[in-house]
Each structure stands twice: as structure tokens, then as C-alpha cells.
């Protein structure tokens, strides 16, 4: 009974993920999620207190060494996962909500509303992402939350486009016509006939986006537009490591952390991309 149940769960995972590469990527991603959730329990020392001698090389007490003011670097990298990953998830979630709502309105109501929204979307997408995010972050002032807002400004248009294209075709579908003939309101049609049919593709798109979000947010912090010391955040840790370039571990470990999160989520996203409709894949 239990075995059968496990097998059917396994079968429910998209076939693309059930490959060696997919399994590795999912394992890495899940590990990071677990680390992020349990960071306070997994970090052996306080990530912001100066308990050790500065610049200790990795050793059996300080697995990743210590930094310029004697903080345990392993604890900082582990705690950093919580900030980097939760902010990425927050960013993806917010982009998804904002973008999908905008795309829903554009696709469903069409006409000039659609025109205006789509021109705006094109405008946002025509800027180089990082530069636009930098400008916004600089304008808002450096803080973690502002860096998320700045990243949001550049991340929503993808969801708007995706949702709009799905809504355009759903709107024409026969079950929507049937709902109109039954006298359902536009709101009810959106809620029951349109949105439920866009969710799975949107979620796939979101999983595709987590790696990019991590990179963008740590990039902003690296540039000094996000987290500020002493907050353990990977991007700002790398940026700080530049001051003492000969201390290799200071750049390496947060770098590997960013690298593994970004690559794992990008692989998952790429594998899932095949699940999307052909029309959506082009976006």
C-alpha cells in the first residue's frame, strides 16, 4: 500500500525532473530550502558576533574560516541562505502576483487597456534588467526591502506577458462562452474559468525565475544597493571580500552558495519549461 502510494507520487513528478540531472538539481534546491528554514539551528555560532581571531583559514572549528573581524564564516553563509533565499522567494511571489494581475486585466479586457499595459510592459522589458534595478534601488535608497522592490520593477513584466497570452486564448474558449451565456459576471469568469487555468504555467514560470531572482538580488547587494553590514547576505559578503582578496575563502563560499542556488533552480526551471505550452515557451 505504502509502496504503491510512493510510486504514484513519484509518477506525478514531471518526467523531465525524474532524470539524474533533475534529481541532483532538486536535491540541491531542497537542501538549500531546508538550510534556509533551519538556519538558526544549523549555524554553530552567532553570525554577527566577533568570537574568534580574524582571518582564520577554514579549520575544524570554523569550517569556512573567519572574516576580518573574527566572525564564524560558516555561520554567516548558512544564515545568509535564509536572507538570500527568502528574499528571492518573496521577490518571485510578488512579481508573480503583480505581473499576473496586470496580465489578467490586459488580456481579459483587451482594447485600449491592453494596448496601454502592453506598451508599458515592452518599455520595462526594453531596459537592461540590472541597470534598471540599480537605478530604482539607488533612487529608493539602499536597504534589503528596497532592493526587492527594485527587482520587482524589472521582474513583473514576464508574468504579465505570460498571463496575458494565456488569458487571450482562454477568453476565446468555448467554456468561457458557455459561462457568458449562463449570465456569469466577468469577475466570476476570471475567478473560476480563467485564473485556475493559468496557475500551473505561472508556477512553472516562477520556479524558472528563482535562480534569476537570487542572482539579481545578490547582485544589487554586491553593488551596495541591498543588504548592509553586518547583515549576512551573500552578495554583500562577496563585495566585502574584495577588500581582502588574498583571503580566498571569503569570496569562495558565498560565491559557491549563490552559484549552486542559481544553477539548481535554473536547471529545474529549464527542465520544467518543456512542460509549458509551446506558445508560452517562447516568452
Amino acid at each position: 500500500m505504502g509502496g504503491k502510494r510512493r510510486r504514484s507520487l513519484w509518477k506525478r513528478i514531471p518526467a523531465q525532473i525524474r532524470t539524474p540531472l533533475g534529481v541532483i538539481a532538486v536535491t540541491v534546491a531542497l537542501t538549500w530550502l531546508v538550510v534556509a528554514i533551519f538556519a538558526p539551528y544549523l549555524s554553530p555560532y552567532d553570525p554577527v558576533s566577533q568570537e574568534f581571531a580574524p582571518y582564520l583559514e577554514p579549520n575544524s572549528v570554523n569550517f569556512f574560516g573567519t572574516d576580518d573581524i573574527g566572525r564564524d564564516y560558516f555561520s554567516r553563509v548558512v544564515s545568509g541562505s535564509r536572507i538570500s533565499i527568502s528574499l528571492s522567494l518573496l521577490l518571485v511571489f510578488m512579481s508573480m502576483i503583480v505581473g499576473s494581475l496586470i496580465g489578467l486585466v490586459a488580456g481579459f479586457f483587451g482594447g485600449w487597456i491592453d494596448e496601454v499595459i502592453m506598451r508599458l510592459t515592452d518599455l520595462f522589458m526594453s531596459f537592461p534588467t540590472v541597470i534598471l534595478a540599480m537605478i530604482v534601488a539607488a533612487a529608493l535608497g539602499a536597504s534589503l526591502f528596497n532592493s526587492v522592490l527594485a527587482a520587482l520593477v524589472v521582474s513583473w513584466p514576464v508574468y504579465a506577458r505570460l498571463t496575458r497570452s494565456m488569458v487571450l486564448s482562454l477568453r476565446q474558449s468555448n467554456f468561457v462562452s458557455a459561462a457568458r451565456l449562463m449570465g456569469h459576471s466577468s469577475g466570476r469568469i476570471m475567478l473560476r474559468d480563467i485564473v485556475p487555468n493559468t496557475i500551473s504555467s505561472t508556477l512553472i514560470m516562477a520556479s524558472l525565475d528563482i535562480g534569476t531572482a537570487t542572482l539579481l538580488l545578490s547582485g544589487l547587494s554586491f553593488l551596495g544597493l541591498g543588504a548592509k553590514p553586518p547583515t549576512p547576505e551573500w552578495g554583500s559578503m562577496i563585495s566585502y571580500a574584495l577588500h581582502s582578496f588574498d583571503k580566498w575563502w571569503l569570496g569562495l563560499f558565498p560565491g559557491l552558495a549563490i552559484f549552486s542556488v542559481v544553477v539548481a533552480f535554473n536547471i529545474i526551471g529549464d527542465l520544467l519549461r518543456d512542460q509549458l505550452d509551446p506558445e508560452v515557451q517562447r516568452l
Binding site: 468555448n174 467554456f175 449562463m182
Partner: protein, 293 residues
């Protein structure tokens, strides 16, 4: 397959009473005109614009089964959508139940105008894939309750499923687990559960195999007759339409080229195109499918 044909014949035999009722009511001058389409013209914008339907006029009476036949591209679906209000006519008038029919926009259709329902050509999108079929049928019941609150005892979702030949427990399933024919029957149940006065069936069966076609057409016709719902039945297959329709309209290139009682169109066609349609049916009693002329 011959069983299915026999089924339809039974239905027709049963329907004759209501047909006579209608004639007698007409004779009495009772107002049983349900739908009147006058000089309908639909032009699809584009370069060049496509005149899909032109000078189409016809009438439909309560409880009547009107067949609309014509080859692919002759404008049948366009007429259906215009009548249902799913597209705005370029010119002409559609009067349903004494009121001029307004095309559907973003505003919701008032409940007293929900007496026109439609079953669509393509079974793959006729049902919402994310909702259980039972709850989609109950949408129909909800409309009936809102439009005719005094309507007495209504059938349950389970009974509707049984009426279209499915089992009561199928209501918990999602559309993807049903075949095309089953989906069209579910869509029919949903439409008829609203107790419409007019059901437009736009080639609901053309994508199905011949015996399933006859079965679905038979069920649809029987159920419509039971609640005195008029049926505008669209098909390119004259041999099936002939089995269920009281009257037949023949469309060609966007215009109606022939109309009349089924027997008259079948036995004594006036128009050259209708004659060609008839001569391309292999045997007079068979369920031959027309080559696209």
C-alpha cells in the same frame, strides 16, 4: 449504428405529437414564435473583409427542431454565434422572445436572457478542464433556478448525468477523463439544465465517429423535446439532420439557398446546391457523410 438510427426514429415519432401541438397552436394564432432573424449580415474585418453571412432570415418556433446544413465555411457557426450574441452582427436584427438580442460584452447577461444556450463544435474546450463536471452541470441548474424560481422540482446533477447516459458518480471526475462524445453529452446536460427555450447545437458531433454522432444527436433531440426546448441543430451532414429536424435550412456561401419542411427538402429539393448535396449521400437511408462539395 442501425440501433442509433432506430433510436432517433423513435425520438422523431415521439416528437410528432409536439409538432402537431405546435401546428395547432399556430393555427390558433397563439404566439409561439421564439426567434426571428432578419437580414443578418456578418462581415469579419480583415484584408479583404470576409462576408461570412449575408441576407440570412429565418424564424424558429417554440419546441421546433430546425436543421441548418451547409458545407464547411458556409457560415453556419457565424449564424450560431450571432444568434447567441457571441458576436455582433454587421447589420440585421435578431429578435428572441420578443426582445432584440444584445451581443454579449463585458457586462453579464441578465438572467431573463439566459434562455439561449449553446453546445459548441469543439469538445476539447467545451468544458473547463479545472472543474469537476458535476459542478459545471450545477451551474446550469443554478441558472434555471434563477430564471424560473417557480419551476418546481428540478433534476439533480446526478439525474442529469444519468439522462445523458453517464453514471451519477461521474460528477466527481474532471473533463480530461471523458471522451469527446461524453464531453459533448456533459455540455448538453449543462446547457439543458438551464431549461433554455432555445438550444443551439453547432456541429456538436462532427468530430465524433458516425455511431456516436447519431447517439449524441438522438439524446440531445430527445431531451430537448422533453422540456419543449427548441433546437437549432447545425451540421454539414444532411443525412443526420434529416433524422431529427422538423425543418431544414440549407446554407451556401453565407446565404440560405433552400428552406422548408424536412420531407420537402429531402424529397423535392428546389435548389441546385441542395440537389448536389443529396446526390452525394451514398444511400437514401444510410448515414453517409458529405464530401465537402
Amino acid at each position: 449504428m442501425s440501433d442509433a438510427v432506430a433510436d432517433i426514429r423513435d425520438v422523431r415519432a415521439g416528437k410528432h405529437h409536439s409538432g402537431q401541438d405546435r401546428e395547432s397552436r399556430l393555427g390558433n394564432g397563439a404566439g409561439s414564435l421564439l426567434l426571428s432573424v432578419r437580414d443578418l449580415k456578418v462581415v469579419y474585418p480583415g484584408r479583404p473583409p470576409v462576408v461570412a453571412v449575408d441576407q440570412v432570415s429565418f424564424e424558429l418556433f417554440e419546441g421546433e427542431v430546425l436543421g441548418l446544413v451547409g458545407e464547411s465555411g458556409s457560415g453556419k457557426s457565424t449564424v450560431a454565434k450571432a444568434v447567441a450574441g457571441l458576436l455582433a452582427p454587421t447589420s440585421g436584427e435578431i429578435i428572441f422572445d420578443g426582445n432584440s438580442m444584445k451581443p454579449l460584452g463585458m457586462a453579464k447577461r441578465p438572467v431573463e436572457r439566459t434562455g439561449i444556450q449553446m453546445v459548441f463544435q469543439d469538445p476539447t474546450t467545451s468544458l473547463n478542464p479545472r472543474r469537476r463536471v458535476g459542478s459545471q452541470i450545477s451551474d446550469g441548474l443554478e441558472v434555471a433556478a434563477a430564471r424560473k424560481p417557480e419551476g418546481g422540482n428540478r433534476l439533480s446533477v446526478e439525474k442529469w448525468l444519468e439522462r445523458v447516459g453517464l453514471s451519477a458518480s461521474d460528477g466527481n471526475r474532471f473533463p480530461r477523463s471523458f471522451s469527446g462524445g461524453q464531453r459533448q453529452r456533459i455540455a448538453t446536460a449543462r446547457a439543458l439544465a438551464t431549461e433554455p427555450s432555445l438550444l443551439i447545437a453547432d456541429e456538436p458531433i462532427s468530430s465524433l465517429d458516425a455511431s456516436t454522432q447519431a447517439r449524441v444527436a438522438g439524446i440531445m433531440c430527445k431531451l430537448a423535446a422533453e422540456q419543449n426546448t427548441a433546437l437549432l441543430f447545425i451540421s454539414h451532414d444532411l443525412s443526420i439532420v434529416r433524422l431529427i429536424a422538423d425543418r431544414i435550412l440549407v446554407m451556401y456561401h453565407g446565404e440560405i439557398v433552400e428552406s422548408g419542411p424536412t420531407q420537402q427538402v429531402w424529397n423535392d429539393p428546389q435548389d441546385g446546391y441542395t440537389k448536389r448535396l443529396l446526390s452525394s449521400i451514398p444511400t437514401p437511408d444510410g448515414l453517409g457523410i458529405l464530401p465537402s462539395a
